[in-house]
């Protein structure tokens, strides 16, 4: 019994010694974007008691995978509301997974929105269009939350640019998103061009678009795509760029 008491006391002393190391490691892991999941009551409501227990026990990623498969099944049955609820749970469990944010957004903004527009059980076209727009917004919301959790990801900015361009026709917003994507590490080269194309259609940002595309035209010979040259020529006319400073008229 004496040895057990001594062992307990030593364990307590070790606890005091290890505390600063644990705290510093915890802080370092959080700073590196690890341990970012908030295991709180919101998550408990989303995943249920057993799911929450699994998440608490260190099985966040397998649980997220299972819920994702469930969401996939819900997609096959076109249960859009259930899918959104499952996507919320999955993205809360794995906020660092770009794939989950991107796919959740795509399902909502492309698939669920199209289904809402073609929903024959809703006779009012105005309401169908309203529902469609709500799904667009939901898709945007996933990407914006994903970016908040992964600010260094060019991939999610790129997806946001595509969504704003194709579903909202918000060329200024899309241009900004593509521009941000192009400035982040690992961005595909087309994000810079896309930023230029979209900003060219954003009132008041034509000059910036011109400078951006002109720089790509000058610095990336492989990037002299037809769309880039056509946009540059249009911008030169709109901005009244002096003839001597325009790109060669030999191209296109």
């Amino acid at each position: 019994m004496i040895r057990q008491t001594i062992a307990l006391l030593l364990l307590g002393i070790f606890g005091i010694i290890k505390m600063p190391a644990e705290k510093s490691l915890d802080a370092a892991q959080r700073q590196a974007g690890l341990r970012g999941t908030a295991l709180d009551l919101d998550l408990r409501e989303m995943v249920g008691q057993r799911g929450f227990l699994a998440a608490l026990s260190g099985f966040r990623s397998p649980l997220a995978a299972l819920l994702w498969i469930e969401a996939h099944n819900a997609w096959e049955r076109t249960e859009w509301g259930r899918m959104a609820a499952l996507f919320d749970a999955v993205t809360t469990l794995q906020p660092r997974s770009l794939l989950y944010w991107d796919m959740a957004s795509w399902h909502m903004a492309w698939n669920a929105s199209a289904a809402a527009l073609q929903d024959r059980s809703q006779p009012s076209e105005a309401l169908r269009i309203r529902n469609q727009r709500q799904y667009f917004k939901l898709g945007r919301d996933y990407l914006e939350r994903g970016i908040k959790n992964n600010p260094e990801s060019s991939f999610l900015y790129r997806s946001l640019g595509v969504l704003l361009r194709d579903k909202f026709e918000d060329h200024c917003g899309a241009g900004e998103a593509f521009l941000k994507a192009s400035q982040l590490p690992g961005a595909p080269s087309y994000t810079g061009r896309f930023a230029g194309y979209e900003l060219a259609r954003c009132p008041g940002r034509e000059r910036m678009a011109y400078e951006l595309l002109r720089k790509l035209y000058e610095t990336e010979p492989d990037g002299r795509k037809p769309a880039l040259i056509i946009t540059l020529k249009e911008l030169e006319k709109r901005l009244d760029v002096p003839e001597s400073q325009r790109i060669s008229s030999d191209v296109y």
Partner: protein, 286 residues
């Protein structure tokens, strides 16, 4: 002394292997291959992510279970079949006996982790090859740069160098659990009690960080609540620190200094729990 530790470790390892624990590898392989076939209907990015989720999750479950069950059973078993008395009647110090036993279990956990990793990487590689073949066929008329980009998207979604530190941390966590279970078993009276206690410590350990924050933030709480969270923070290990695989699967990178700190902390816990086990076991009446 090292010879004695080696002999006991080898015997422990052989005993555990004879208990057919390697059937778990078969279950793991079925998990990996089965989930891979089932998930073939998803996009390849989803499929690879799910495969990593399931395999690393299964690896974590199996190694943790094995660490707790194997460690909890050896002391009562050795007492029951009198092996312990036979051993300790020879000039074998008690801590050498414990160190040998723990080393045998660590060896088994290492082999387990290596075999499961091999199965995991093999299934992942096979699926990658299959998707690459399909992509080459789909893009056979496309421009070379388009094909290159498509193939790169596939390879980027499969292997990730951070998977290795993630798996190593799973192994260290299982070693820590084995050492912790050993400490419990030195004062426990049955293996059932040890298993139940180790499982409880496992769950509490995952909440230790929350208790620590609660204690140190200085929130106004009743004194006995403060005492309770302080005890949890002091006496239990922070097991959440060792769940880096979840973030690795999601694509997060583990910086080298964080990996080394986590790795070292795991071994410090293991060493301290072992030292305390030796202290308690030295005074135990057999």
């Amino acid at each position: 002394m090292s010879v004695q530790v080696g002999v006991i470790a080898r015997n422990t390892f052989t005993e555990l292997v004879r208990q057919r624990v390697f059937y778990i590898i078969l279950v793991f392989a079925l998990c990996a291959i089965g989930s891979s076939i089932f998930m073939a209907r998803l996009t390849f990015q989803e499929e690879f992510q799910m495969l990593k989720d399931v395999c690393l999750g299964a690896m974590s479950i199996f190694t943790s279970l094995l660490a707790i069950l194997a460690t909890a059973s050896f002391l009562p078993k050795d007492i029951e079949d009198r092996t312990l008395y036979n051993l300790l009647s020879k000039p074998v110090p008690r801590f050498v006996y414990l160190l040998g036993k723990l080393s045998g279990i660590i060896l088994l956990l290492l082999l387990f982790t290596l075999l499961m990793s091999a199965v995991f990487f093999l299934v992942l590689w096979l699926r990658e090859q299959s998707v690459l073949l399909q992509t080459r066929s789909d893009f056979r008329e496309a421009a070379p740069e388009e094909l290159g980009a498509a193939l790169k998207a596939v390879t980027d979604a499969t292997f990730n160098a951070n998977l290795f530190p993630g798996i190593l941390i799973i192994f260290v966590k299982s070693v820590l659990l084995a050492s912790l279970t050993l400490l419990i078993s030195t004062f426990a009276t049955s293996s059932l009690f040890t298993i139940m206690m180790a499982a409880a410590v496992y769950f509490i350990g995952h909440l230790q960080a929350t208790a620590r924050e609660y204690w140190l933030q200085g929130i106004e709480i009743k004194w006995w609540t403060r005492l309770l969270v302080a005890l949890v923070a002091l006496l239990f290990p922070d097991l959440q620190s060792f769940n880096l695989a979840d973030d690795v699967i999601a694509g997060a990178a583990i910086p080298a200094n964080i990996f080394l700190e986590t790795f070292a902390l795991g071994w410090v816990y293991t060493a301290v729990y072992f030292a305390l086990s030796a202290l308690v076991f030295a005074g135990r009446e057999l």
